[in-house]
Symmetry: C3
Subunit: 210 residues, 3 copies
């Protein structure tokens, strides 16, 4: 499998799973199917759009690649109607949403870091563009439906994206081969996020002040 | 009337009416006049700003065309002080806001689709830029004052913008003359939105899940 | 001190103090330290990022200047842990946040106006880019933690930024020397904001309508 193909497949997967999470949350909020596509497209395409704007890669990637809109719409619709099939209740639906979100997060932190490196940014900035690409779609999704964003509620979230982005950036410094490196870095982010979800890991915060 | 003049007049009308809706909502939320201008300018100029950013037409259009800021400020002030004159009560004010919003939506879905086509985007993407241009100003307005966005509350809203954008894009494929086509497509969007408001049309949504 | 140095120091100060305000609000909302850095970086770097996007100065400034991320992270961490040291209670913490925010506002209204003039914008637009640069970081900070934005709650806020931006733009028209002019304009904005905070100045708003 060529490196370019690996990156394309990761990208499509990220768009689909984030859009799926958007469709699920739209169902939870009783939006109509069209609203589900809006929220799903924002979730799936928001991160890469922000990345392209910040780095000046305009027009943004999906303007000349309409397949992304189709993938996002498909993911949103599957998530929207699929959530009604999860008859085991709220817990199962919330878990499915969180797992789909974790896949998108893991993939996009790597793709965002790669885009930063390609644009010639400093390693710390490439990690930042990775985290922003990974977190922004979900942030937009949650703000649109008026939820407190998962990235601020969940303590090991941006941190998982940061780990994936940093692994990719440092692996790149050591000239590791791009395709396997990207997959390994995405798996690292996913493993951290999954462990945090499974074992309820948290970071120490200072106590309540007000 | 030249085609360019038609598009300019539609654009000015969209900015004015969206800014008017922003001024009205600022009055409802008891903001001061300066806050009304902020919300009005965000509503009137937000959609076109997002369109220009996504398509890479930078600096954004109003940087070199200060008349847009003047039109937005005027619309916001008229909406802000005008809302106090609607002494027939809350219902009349909400209706005036929704009708002004519908005018902006109808005009901007066409202008956004046209900008997408001019940038060489695929027809499906030109429709998307139309819907985003139409919906983003109102979305920004509602998020700023902490309301659930009209585009997510109202079921036939983005859909009306989609119809107007699609009509423009398909008419353009058949080489229909630009000025009349733009006006007809905007009227189509307005008619759908008006009928949805008048007759309380809704889309089927899946039931409450949680 | 050279003019370029004055502008750099103002810029660093604005990033630091806005990030400090973001760290303090993150502590109030019981976010973890990593969330504090996210909110702080959004507050400190959001305004300049929007300015660069609107004016087309891409990639945005911090992509090739990683020191800004370091300054923002430092400001956020100091604000986050510092807020626990203000044992005199909620009032002292809210005041510290508001004063840090006022410093950022005062500095960024001038830097945003200068960027608008450099891009060749009309004087009214340079004032607008000044106000937007000054207000957007704090807006993003407040939206992220789900507060009503200070810029919409506080009546003499955007107005203070407007005064600073206008003073810079008009001073520039009269060819006043850049460094002292920037400092004087920032002080004007700060003095207005400080007086409004100290004496609870408000603007007349129309009464409650709904």
């Amino acid at each position: 499998m060529s490196v370019a193909l690996v990156f394309s497949l990761l990208d499509y997967a990220g768009v689909f799973f984030f859009a799926f999470s958007g469709g699920m949350i739209a169902a939870r909020k009783s939006l109509d199917p069209f609203g589900a596509v809006i929220v799903g497209a924002a979730a799936g395409m928001g991160g890469g759009t922000l990345r392209d704007i910040l780095l000046g890669a305009l027009p943004v990637y999906w303007v000349n690649a309409p397949e992304y809109l189709a993938i996002a719409a498909a993911g949103a619709i599957v998530g929207y109607y699929g959530s009604a099939l999860l008859t085991s209740g709220t817990g199962a639906r919330r878990a499915a949403l969180a797992w789909a979100d974790a896949v998108g997060l893991s993939v996009f932190c790597v793709l965002g870091a790669q885009a930063g490196l390609l644009a010639g940014a400093h390693w710390s900035i490439a990690i930042l563009t990775g985290v922003m690409t990974a977190a922004f779609g979900g942030l937009l999704r949650d703000v649109l439906v008026n939820d407190v964003p998962l990235v601020l509620r969940e303590e090991i979230y941006a941190l998982a994206g940061l780990a994936g982005a940093a692994a990719y950036v440092f692996g790149h410094m050591f000239a590791l081969p791009g395709g396997p490196l990207a997959i390994a870095a995405a798996f690292l982010a996913f493993a951290i996020r999954a462990a945090a979800m499974r074992f309820n890991w948290t970071l120490p915060s200072i106590g309540k002040l007000d």
